[in-house]
């Protein structure tokens, strides 16, 4: 009887983006990481680029937001919009990441 044993190694290689976070991380109240752990992570990977916002919400404990976003839109407005949308799909145990596009449209009219 012949015995033949082989091992097949399969690898999926992708680039680890730097920084690996998107614009916003949403941390659930029962998620595996909390706000302080998230703060340490973003500080280690992208120093002074992110701000941690603790929120009062039944499912969300905190948002970690890229600072430049907060210069384009009011903090409390951004938080309430994000919470409104994520609470529809959120469970307390997960961490979500969000890519945001913020554009400013300005129209001016004046008399010639």
């Amino acid at each position: 009887m012949e015995k033949n044993k082989t091992i097949t190694l399969s690898m999926n290689i992708t680039e680890f983006e730097m920084p690996p976070m998107r614009d916003v991380i949403v941390i659930g109240v029962a998620a595996p990481i909390g706000p302080e752990a998230a703060r340490k992570m973003v500080e280690a990977l992208s120093p002074e680029q992110y701000e941690v916002l603790i929120v009062e919400h039944e499912k969300v404990e905190a948002l970690v937001v890229r600072k430049p976003i907060l210069q384009l839109i009011d903090k409390s407005k951004l938080v309430s919009e994000i919470l409104e949308e994520v609470s529809k799909i959120m469970t307390p145990k997960i961490v979500l990441r969000i890519s945001l596009n913020v554009s400013l449209n300005i129209t001016k009219t004046f008399n010639e």
């Binding site: 029962a30 998620a31 990481i33 909390g34 302080e36 752990a37 340490k40 145990k93």
Partner: protein, 277 residues
Amino acid sequence: MKKVCQVMNPKVVTISPDKGIEHAIRLMDQHGVGSLLVVQNNVLKGILTSKDIRKHDRNRLTWDVMTPNPIVINENANIVEAIQVMENHCIEHLPVVDEERKLLGLITKKDILGLFGSFTDPLTGLPWGTLLKHMAKDLLLNGNDLVILFLDLDDFGLFNKRFGHVIGDKIIVCFSKMLKRVCDPEYDLPGRYAGDEFLVISKRNQEEAKKLAVKILNEPINIEGVPEVRVSIGIAGGRRKELRDTNSVEHMIDELLNLASRASTEAKSTRVKLVVA
């Protein structure tokens, strides 16, 4: 009165806030404790209990699970203050810190009860006169003026002889409950002086103390099958407009106590019910 630093346990189990919950669980199991003090650079940052851990994912850091800024007590506070803090906040363990919130030890209700137990009356739960005098001293040293109400149950010896000591104890308990109910913990410290004599040390002025005395006199103490129990009250103090000299605080308290006691004797003998010294 013993200070907290003389009674505390200096050996406490601590954890750094950067450690994970799995590490906290191992520490609790290893030391057989239900909570850990969270310390960074010797400064107390929070407290982590097994209840906190049950509410969160075990992957978390201690920072994200602990209760920050726990109730603490200064090393120089006395054990009476420690018990009051524990009872006000319904806690059994109190971290002891210095002025900079550096952790020095832990004091538990169990640690104090052995000492404190001798200061309270087991029948009524009220502090004995000895403890009340210490509390009065602290109040005076903190700039409060005091009034003392001395309360003496009328003909109590006859109640004991006629109805028995079990009934006598019931009367004492009933009276104590009424006293606790009528007194305002914001201002009044009720206690048992001896036998059928009670004290109230109060931050009220004399006029307010008289109102309290009248309220006490109007509260019936009725035990089934026993005639109504009456009390005579003497009041001393509560009239000064300036702070008393704090150098002779103990003498001052004894003087007030004596005056109030003699006033209650006068109230009893003249059947007036309330006499102000």
